[in-house]
């Protein structure tokens, strides 16, 4: 992309020993796999997509052996999941409360405020829960992953791990990927439940909707398919966001600027991919 010449110049300005080290034992993936020459933006995008796809295959292949060290995965579930809990719960609560206010306002025009529970549950389960969780997850856990792995790359820790005959894909990338993949659906489910209670809070206390009507309408109109659509969405988003984040860190330029850029790019790519995939999964479920 456009930053390539600048990054090259910076890499050139490194101390000669360092630059030689980078080119030496780094293996095929230590150096950017951007292809030779100076690709245009379009070609660069295609190359990046290809790089991500190949990386995904290697990552999935590395996931099996990664289960040999479950403690690493638990650590990453903690990092990606438990540490995102506060922001997810707060966002879920306020999203639900806004749904309660807006839904009650809208439904009151048609005299069917009792449907607030259904409206809130369906919009949360099918759409808002997975999508907002994924966006927040990209911002909270995705950036942490990218900058962590990027800094490992910049400080040659990945190379050091490789020198110790340990595959960094198995030891560093796969546990983080699995941790994010496991954490994301759980976070989305927590977001949904908290959101429902937020909607009930506003609907029942503020708008005076009968709580029994709220819940019985909701329970009679929501079907298992709605819940499963949300869960499948959150699995897909978890896969994509974590993949983008791990890839971004793994293939970041080994400079301070490069790590910053990779982190930004993770959020941007993960966000629009979330929304794109959201459309595709929703269309597939219709």
């Amino acid at each position: 992309m456009t930053d390539t010449p600048g990054a090259n110049a910076e890499a050139g300005s490194l101390p000669p020993g360092r630059a030689a080290q980078e080119r030496g034992p780094g293996g095929p993936h230590a150096v950017r796999p951007r292809g030779g020459g100076r690709p245009g933006i379009l070609l660069g995008g295609v190359a990046r997509a290809g790089g991500i796809a190949l990386f995904a295959l290697r990552l999935v292949a590395a996931c099996g052996p990664a289960f040999a060290r479950p403690a690493l995965i638990v650590h990453q579930i903690y990092n990606a999941g438990a540490r995102s809990l506060v922001i997810i719960m707060l966002s879920g609560l306020f999203t639900g409360m806004v749904l309660g206010l807006q839904g009650a306002y809208l439904l009151a025009r048609f005299g069917s405020e009792n449907l607030l529970g259904v409206a809130a549950a369906l919009s949360l389960l099918r759409e808002l829960g997975p999508v907002l969780t994924s966006l927040l997850f990209a911002g909270r856990a995705g950036t942490a992953l990218t900058s962590e792995i990027g800094l490992m790359r910049a400080t040659d820790q990945l190379t050091a791990i490789e020198m110790m005959a340990v595959d960094p894909m198995r030891y560093v990338a796969a546990p983080r990927f699995l941790g994010g993949l496991i954490a994301m659906p759980l976070l989305a489910a927590i977001f949904n439940v908290i959101g429902l209670f937020g909607a009930q809070l506003i609907g029942v206390w503020e708008r005076g909707i009968d709580p029994a009507a709220f819940w019985s309408q909701m329970q009679s109109s929501v079907v298992l398919r709605d819940a499963s659509e949300g869960i499948i969405k959150s699995l897909v988003f978890g896969f994509v966001v974590t993949l983008i984040a791990v890839y971004g860190g793994y293939h970041s330029e080994p400079t301070a600027e490069g790590v910053g850029l990779a982190t930004t790019r993770t959020v941007v790519t993960a966000s629009w991919l979330t929304l794109l995939l959201d459309y595709m999964v929703t269309a597939a479920f219709m």
Binding site: G81, A82, L85, L186, S216, M218, V222, V223, L224, R225
Partner: protein, 197 residues
Amino acid sequence: MRANRTLEIGTGFFVLLGFAALFFLTTQLPSNGLKVGGAQGGFRVTAQFDNIGDLKSGAPVALAGVTIGEVTGIGIDPQNYRAVVTMRIDPRYNKIPDDSDASINTQGLLGGQYVAIGAGGSETYLKNGSQIEFTQPAFVLENLVNKLFASFASKPAESGQGGSNSSASPSPGGPGTNPPAGGQPDGAKPHGGGRPK
């Protein structure tokens, strides 16, 4: 060691919370999910309807507006091709007269449909397995609209002799366009005539 312990506790807390939320969303919330909390007690009664409209399994059963149970099954009686609705009634409400009637109503303008029980006057009560004999089918909006059009269409034809009357009549149902307009809702006409209420 202590840091490791906090990490494990934090992860365990998160995972348990997450699975509890998933469990709630998949089993307690959906109407066709596997209900763990509440589907055991109560007794079952059935009712046969000509048309259940949009009634779904899990819809509430209400007596005087109070929810007393839920619809647990919907099927067809192969003998007479009527819909058979099975309901679970909460055991607290075991004094419902067995000559009560059941009708399918709509909650609000856009709400879901539910079964409304109207209490009868009998001394014997509904019990497990009993059937509600008096039923009223779902209110289907299209039939009503058809009936309305049929009555609009037939009215000017019967009393359409006055010139002032025909000019006052609404433009779609003018006397000239009457026969084709009457022909369109043909299927609804027997209903309109057959059930004068």
